[in-house]
C-alpha cells in the first residue's frame, strides 16, 4: 500500500495564484477523479506532483519519499507517470522513440538498442490492444486517438506506482474510450494510485472511487462516488 500526500501545496505564476493550499491524499487501488472548470488548476496540480513545477510552499510525498523538490526525471524514477494533456510526444519521431522517450535502452558500450526497443514496443502495444499501421512512421502522422494510445502505453511501460492521467480520453472515439476505462479498472485492481482528470462526467462516474472538485485552485468538494451524484458534481464545479 502506497500513499501520495499533498500538504497545503501552493503555486503561483507571477501574480496569479493557481493553487491556494491544496491538502489531500491518494492511496493504492483507488481511482480519484479531479474535476473542475477550465483554468481551475487541475493540470497545474498534477504537473506539480510530477515535478514539472515545484510548489511555492507546502509538501508532497510518496510514502517516505519527499517529492517536493524532485525533477521530472526523479519523479519518474520514483514510479510516478503522467499522461499530459498535450500528450508530450515528439511529433517527428517514431512510435518506438516516443515509447522510450527519456528511457532509451542501450547496449555495450552505449549504443542505442533499437532492436530490443522495437521488439518490446510491439509486445506492449499488442498487450494493450493498440493497433498502429507502423512503428516507424513519425507519430505526428498518426491520428489523435492513436497518439493518445501511444502516450498511455508509454506511461505504463515501466510499471508505475502512480499514474496521473490528464484528459486521457479527450481525442478518443466511443469504442476507444471504453477500452481506456477498462484499462483504468485493471490498473486499479493491480493496486496503482490512479488520478484521472476528465471533463467527461460519464467517464468519471464509470471508473472513479472518489471525486475531488477543484475551483480556482482550492478543493471545494471531496466525496466518494456513491455519496454524490452527477448534479452535485456539476453544481460544485459551476457555482462560484
Amino acid at each position: 500500500m502506497s500513499e501520495l500526500k499533498l500538504q497545503s501545496v501552493k503555486k503561483s505564476f507571477g501574480v496569479t495564484t493557481v493553487l491556494q493550499g491544496v491538502t489531500t491524499s491518494f492511496s493504492s487501488g483507488t481511482v480519484t477523479a479531479i474535476v473542475g472548470d477550465n483554468g481551475a488548476g487541475k493540470s497545474t496540480l498534477c504537473k506539480t506532483i510530477a515535478g514539472v513545477y515545484h510548489p511555492d510552499s507546502g509538501k508532497i510525498s510518496l510514502d517516505d519519499l519527499s517529492l517536493t523538490h524532485l525533477s521530472p526525471h526523479e519523479t519518474r524514477e520514483a514510479g510516478i507517470e503522467m499522461i499530459y494533456q498535450d500528450l508530450a510526444l515528439a511529433k517527428q519521431h517514431d512510435v518506438v522513440s516516443n515509447l522510450y522517450f527519456g528511457r532509451e535502452k542501450t547496449r555495450w558500450p552505449g549504443w542505442l538498442d533499437r532492436k530490443t526497443m522495437s521488439a518490446q514496443s510491439r509486445v506492449v502495444l499488442e498487450q494493450m490492444g493498440i493497433k498502429l499501421p507502423s512503428l516507424r512512421t513519425p507519430i505526428g502522422l498518426l491520428s489523435g486517438g492513436q497518439q493518445q494510445a501511444v502516450a498511455i502505453a508509454r506511461a505504463l511501460l515501466f510499471s508505475p506506482t502512480v499514474l496521473i492521467m490528464d484528459e486521457p480520453t479527450a481525442a478518443l472515439a466511443a469504442r476507444e474510450i471504453e477500452h481506456i476505462l477498462d484499462l483504468i479498472k485493471k490498473l486499479k485492481e493491480r493496486g496503482l494510485i490512479v488520478i484521472l482528470i476528465s471533463h467527461r462526467l460519464n467517464d468519471v462516474f464509470a471508473v472513479s472511487d472518489r471525486i475531488i472538485a477543484l475551483r480556482s485552485g482550492s478543493i471545494v468538494a471531496d466525496n466518494l462516488v456513491q455519496e454524490t451524484s452527477m448534479q452535485d458534481v456539476v453544481a460544485q464545479i459551476m457555482i462560484a
Binding site: P72, K91, Q92, T106, W111, L112
Partner: protein, 316 residues
C-alpha cells in the same frame, strides 16, 4: 542492423534530393571540365570542404536540438589564434596543437551553453553575442595582425596523407563518422533530437535538458576548434579574421542536407551531402573560371531551389 539503419538514414526524401542534386551537378561539371572527375580534384574538393564540414557537424547537433549557433566561425578563428599563439610560444608540435585548438573551441561552446542555460534567452541572441565576443578576443589577442610564419613542426602533422586523402579531408571524414555515430546511435544523440522536437515534453519526460545543452554546445565548439586548426594549418597562420560568415555556410549545408531548422530532424549523412553540394558547386564553377560573385549567387539559388523542392516532397 548497422547497414540497414544506415540505409534508412540515407533514404530520407530530403537527403535523397541532395544526393540526386550532387550527382546532377557532378555530371554537368564532368562534361564541362576534363579535370573535374580526377582523383586529385576529388581530394581537392574534400580538402577545401574540410573547415565547413567540421563546423557543419557541430551545427548539425545544434540545429537538431532546436537551437542555432551563429558563433561557430568566430570560435573557429579564436581557436586558431589561441592555438597558433600557444604553439608558437611553447614550441609545441605533433598532436598538442590540435588538442589545444579543440579544447579552446570546446571551452567557447561550454560558455555559450552556460549562458543560454543561465539567461534562458534564445540561442540566436546568445550566439550572436558570442560571435562578437570571440571575434573581438581573436583580434585583441593578436592586435589585429595575423600570426604569420608558424614554425613548421606546429602544422607538420597536417602534411600527412592518409589512404590517399589529405589530412584535412581525412579529419573531416573522421569527424563526420564520429558525428554520425553520436547523433544516430547513442542516447546523447537521441536526446538531442528529442529536445529539438519537443522541448516541453523533453523536460516532462525527465531529460536533463540543461546538461544536454551544455554537451551539445561544447561538442559543437570542439568541432569549430578542430576546424580552426585545419584553417590554421592550411593558411599557415593564426588569422583573427579567418572564416568570416562561415557560420552561415555551415548552416546552409546542414539545411541543404534536410535538417529541420526548428529542430528534431537532422542527419550527419545529410550534412555531408550538403557540404559536398556546396564544395562541388564552388569547385566546378572555379574550374569553369566563373567569377566568385556568381558562385555566391548560385549558392543562394541552390538553397532556395532545395527549399522549394522539399515542399513538393513526401515528408511535408
Amino acid at each position: 542492423m548497422f547497414a540497414r539503419k544506415f540505409l534508412s538514414d540515407i533514404s530520407q526524401a530530403s537527403l535523397l534530393q541532395c544526393i540526386v542534386f550532387l550527382t546532377v551537378m557532378s555530371i554537368f561539371f564532368t562534361f564541362n571540365s576534363p579535370v573535374f572527375i580526377t582523383q586529385v580534384n576529388i581530394v581537392n574538393i574534400l580538402t577545401a570542404s574540410a573547415v565547413i564540414g567540421l563546423m557543419g557537424v557541430g551545427a548539425t547537433f545544434v540545429i537538431a536540438c532546436g537551437s542555432i549557433d551563429l558563433s561557430t566561425a568566430a570560435t573557429m578563428a579564436l581557436s586558431s589564434v589561441v592555438c597558433a599563439w600557444t604553439a608558437q610560444n611553447l614550441h609545441l608540435s605533433g598532436l598538442a596543437p590540435i588538442c589545444i585548438a579543440t579544447v579552446a573551441g570546446g571551452l567557447c561552446g561550454l560558455v555559450t551553453g552556460l549562458l543560454i542555460n543561465l539567461t534562458r534567452a534564445p540561442s540566436f541572441i546568445i550566439t550572436l553575442g558570442m560571435l562578437s565576443i570571440n571575434r573581438a578576443l581573436a583580434f585583441i589577442l593578436t592586435g589585429g595582425i595575423p600570426i604569420y610564419g608558424l614554425e613548421e613542426r606546429i602544422t607538420s602533422i597536417a602534411d600527412a596523407t592518409l589512404c590517399g586523402l589529405s589530412f584535412p579531408a581525412a579529419v573531416m571524414l573522421a569527424g563526420m563518422l564520429v558525428g554520425y555515430l553520436l547523433l544516430s546511435r547513442t542516447k546523447f544523440g537521441a536526446h538531442t533530437l528529442l529536445l529539438g522536437d519537443n522541448p516541453g515534453a523533453s523536460e516532462a519526460m525527465g531529460l536533463r535538458v540543461a546538461r544536454l545543452r551544455l554537451g551539445i554546445f561544447s561538442l559543437a565548439g570542439c568541432f569549430s576548434g578542430l576546424a580552426g586548426f585545419i584553417f590554421m594549418a592550411r593558411t599557415n597562420s593564426g588569422d583573427p579574421s579567418a572564416g568570416m560568415n562561415y557560420e552561415l555556410v555551415a548552416i546552409t549545408a546542414v539545411v541543404l542536407g534536410g535538417a529541420n531548422l526548428f529542430g528534431g530532424r537532422a542527419t550527419i549523412p545529410g550534412t555531408l551531402a550538403g557540404v559536398l553540394c556546396l564544395g562541388v558547386l564552388q569547385n566546378g564553377l572555379n574550374l569553369m573560371a566563373i567569377s566568385t560573385f556568381y558562385q555566391t549567387l548560385f549558392v543562394g539559388l541552390v538553397l532556395v531551389l532545395a527549399s522549394f523542392l522539399r515542399r513538393l516532397g513526401p515528408h511535408q
